[in-house]
Symmetry: D2
């Protein structure tokens, strides 16, 4: 079986290759009577779009999303929402080399091993271009959350390290995120990041990164025991992003070094009219037993350095003969940067899916 769908009840199916005529997705299961227009989606795509600084690939895509179905007179109708973006920047070029050679770290050889064929133009289906539709679907998910839960629910991501340069958590400022091209919440580290990325880019290399997504205002009770746990599905959602190599929830790998009393989140009586106790800390990352507790969901992920580098790496071609691969062309030196809005979108889709799943069994 193939599996180009995400979610069970808020089900997103994406399609399209990097250099085909278009990419798109179908969202099935969106609740009816929600206000939705292309204006709700486009800004999120614009945030992800490449070519906005010298730190991302110079591919220029207008990336104008069109809603082809499922919306009538400005409202969702409950029928599938089809979104489409035309590929307008398919430069005609010679693909001879990429067609024959397997780029190390890329899906090239894996697709050939699996399917015996691959659309090699720009990476085809395995291109990060596919993630545009994740962002589009995430924008629709945000509309659902705004209407069904409320505006106090926020899902925000930030880049937390580039290479070995980590932010200082004490300086975390969400407002800063929108003021720099790195989704960086720590203004002071920016000059170092810029310098490092310039070094990396000039040397034809690339660099890894970590990022974090925080969802605040998520209702308690979301997540399905025992194989559809919210943390398990967030892990899957994030690990499925191109280049992801690790996922953490809450305290994450650090929890492996802690004693029980240091990892405990003490609870105190609920404050005000809250229905849920006050937690003194959030080592758990907002999830207990796979179910949200109304604390902030905190997920972190590791992105590998871009595999496409100017530095030659030994490889083989389709005949199995030895070659050296040196990837020219437009590439992000740090794919972690542009992964931030994608990770946010995946979290948004996961939360909506679980919201509807919870509704089904336990009521609204």
């Amino acid at each position: 079986m193939s599996d180009n769908s995400f979610g069970r009840l808020f089900r997103v199916t994406t399609w399209g290759e990097s250099h085909g005529p278009a990419i798109g997705c179908v969202i099935d299961g969106c609740p009816p009577r929600l206000k939705l227009s292309e204006e709700d989606i486009q800004p999120w795509l614009d945030r992800r779009r490449p070519g906005q600084s010298r730190f991302t690939t110079q591919r220029r895509e207008a990336d104008r999303v069109k809603i082809l179905s499922g919306v009538f007179e400005g409202q969702t109708t409950g029928t599938p929402i089809s979104l489409l973006i035309e590929n307008t920047d398919q430069r005609s070029r010679d693909y001879g080399e990429i067609a024959q050679r397997y780029r190390p770290g890329h899906a090239d050889i894996a697709y050939d091993l699996k399917y015996g064929i691959r659309d090699y133009r720009g990476g085809g289906r395995s291109s990060a271009r596919e993630t545009a539709m994740r962002v589009a679907a995430g924008a629709v998910a945000r509309v659902v959350l705004r209407e069904l839960v409320g505006k106090h629910l926020t899902i925000r991501g930030a880049l937390t390290s580039i290479g070995s340069l980590s932010i200082e958590r004490e300086r975390w400022d969400w407002g800063e995120i929108e003021r720099n091209p790195f989704w960086c919440p720590d203004a002071e580290i920016l000059p170092q990041w810029s310098a490092e990325l310039d070094r990396v880019r000039k040397s034809g290399s690339s660099i890894g990164a970590t990022l974090e997504v925080v969802a605040e205002g998520v209702p308690a009770g979301l997540g399905e025991p025992v194989y559809g746990k919210l943390d398990a599905e967030l892990a899957s959602a994030l690990m499925g992003i191109n280049g992801a190599k690790g996922v953490e929830i809450g305290e994450g790998f650090h929890a492996a070094q802690l004693r029980g009393e240091d990892n405990a989140d003490p609870m105190y009586p609920a404050e005000g009219d809250a229905k849920v106790p006050t937690f003194a800390s959030n080592h758990a990352g907002g999830i207990l037993g796979g179910i949200s507790t109304s604390q902030p969901l905190v997920a972190r992920m590791a992105m590998k350095p871009t595999s496409s580098i100017l530095i030659p790496v030994p490889s083989v071609d389709r005949t199995g003969a030895p070659v050296e691969v040196q990837t020219k062309g437009r590439h992000d030196p740090c794919i972690g940067v542009r992964a931030v809005p994608v990770a946010e979108a995946m979290v948004a889709c996961t939360v909506v899916d679980h919201l509807l799943r919870h509704h089904a069994q336990c009521g609204w």
Copy 2:
């Protein structure tokens, strides 16, 4: 919706509470005409069983698995395989305290928030007891892999750290695993681990751990773009284990610190009659673009310290009133230890599921 099933085509549905009459699972989709008996399953359960050393809970369960369907004259028939284990150690006791108080770090409050009811006896459905059925299903998955792929396919797990005491990778010896109660591949660190766990246990505390599962001999081509990627599904499979807080594939979080050339896995022409190139390294952990490459699959995970500790932690009861929770009774000081066979089993089930999925679309 609820979600007590794992896998798409090799579909495992588990049921049962810690202190109910029994636990069990149904495996649907197992290929027919494979030799299978209880003797193929029981040894794996025995490996996981608690009470085998002073480092695990003293709960004693015979854990005799029974096959109730799907096997005829020693062979699988292609119909669902029902497995059942009776709960024989349901000590009658007073649950008054656990019934009313929310244990910090446990699913108690989350189940109440979600369902408005919970079987509090021994943690009910959220108890680690459920993982016995994962191990049982994993044993059946191993039979499928042995028959469909071959005996050269191995799936093995090891504990790689307890607290801040990590093994030395140069000393890794798979043979050592079977000779100690920790699944530890490094004989030299054993005395330190024993001492540390004794300290932890005596202080009424608990400690976190990391573990690693390596699957060798997995065929190339498994994994489904773009939302059923093998790494994404491994992440989900492992993060869904009770107490998991992080998952890594291959280089994992360390990749976030690397340059592209340091994370690259150079390829060289295939050796002998291999169909797949030789990889000079395995930073990728055996997966490119979500698809296996025939290199070893390498997954790592972080386990939090056991939440049940003798040290009191502030909490609330069902009425919202403040209480202190101090968990007496039988508990593992380090749940990471017993998670090893569970993690192996989840990887085995994931690989079989993807093997069948690949068969469906691309042939055997």
Copy 3:
């Protein structure tokens, strides 16, 4: 893939062979906090049980259902409900003949063609014994409907013809159903049916039948466009019952002979405080565009004559050699009779599944 599960959100997975140690099912997705005990299920099983009149097989099964999980202190907990019935009437006998010969009209040859192996004892997995678990799951579905919709929702079935002897619809009396062994709503036709069945039985033959299930009080709005239509899923649910050869909704095949004006269901303003218009007729069978309208759901099905007959039929054995098959042993002369409670149960499960599906997207 195998598919021993029914439903999406109210998901029933059955397992077990006719002559294995037990049969069972797991129900995943049942809403929490519903009163449920074995006493809610057993009466429905008793209704279906064979051996209650001379018109059904004399196999005697106590068929005592046990709830093994998912219920705590008399209420559902939202976790999977495991039901089990032991097979107590597995007569030891010589299966040599049925093991080697393919009974015409049975699944024997089909299982061998598919799996290359089959549990031939009593038909194994393809035995009608499996339908006991459908009835058990249907009983749980009825509890859900009673709690979530109300007692005014009824799902009732009736046998409408045996061979060419059809009931008179004007004489339809639901009360009569419980007073005869045929689920017959027409008291006057009973003597003819009895005589016909006696003739059939004595001649070693069997006879077909039709039955009808009517669900009243089903809320409007259930059914999912465009591939999960309520009528499509009812069709699947009923056609999946052993021996079913046809399914109709509302006017059914007769609609193919009608003019548009004769098949129209005129609507008039809602009466009283009803939210839905008054329909002057119900040719539609309660479903428009795949969605329930609050009119009674009406489904009809055709059951073939029992394939097991004393009259010899030419067949082949496993080696392909010609044989004659004459089925001795315990068999219902008219499997349609015992299909009535099974069909009711399938309708109940389908309606609950769609109720939860509707809740998920559109609210309670």
Copy 4:
């Protein structure tokens, strides 16, 4: 949840409204390396297209299908195949009446009851226009069957009755199908059908019909016990077509009148190099125990008369007030006619889906 997808492993998701900018579908799970172009799909759409005779609606759609993804250099790549047809005949018109009034027999009221909103233009999502994508997907399914099974596998449909005018089965001639606008296999009944349809059309009425689909050359072993039986899924596939009211397999409802010996399909030793015995008859319709036997699959269905008629029918408007509805505009007097290629397509998709499902568990 919404459900606009069909199939498990050959998964078709359709989207689009009658008068939106376009309709489309995404096919996920198609095996790789099959030759596929728009030329493989277009002819099947042309067969279904309205406006080809005076007996179908005069809506004129070019219905040019475009492949937007999943095909590279003329071959499928294993990635999702996106198909799109622009809606070119969206006549601007006044929808005031249909917007406010519920057309009897249509989904209008049902969509409003379910979603509280509907795209009323041309019936929106519930329009038969959606079936164009079923035909397109069916064309891709035929390509898969041709490549994976062979050209001897044929799936053909025929109209078998209009109103009470049934064909004579002895005169059945598949060649005739292509020579008349009714998919009629019986040349002699054609004049009567034409006359009847003219009468119906002139009187502003409509008429029901039955049709039959026969699939020959389907391999043995397809179908999944016990809830994914091939007959159950064919029933669902056909009952989900707009206007369907009944489905039969093989002997169908007639089986309910038969004795066991008359419904039996005797088997004789296989002829030539066939692996499957010779069946002397096919009352079973090619399926035993839910599994194909290699005999022809025979499915029949009943289509209701078109609900849109010029004859006024009492109804209500959105406010609940009484109105009379008289449907002007372009409508087929007998929707059964154009359902034939749709039914063929649904059978083709069902067979491919089960072929892949069988492969997954039991091998190719």
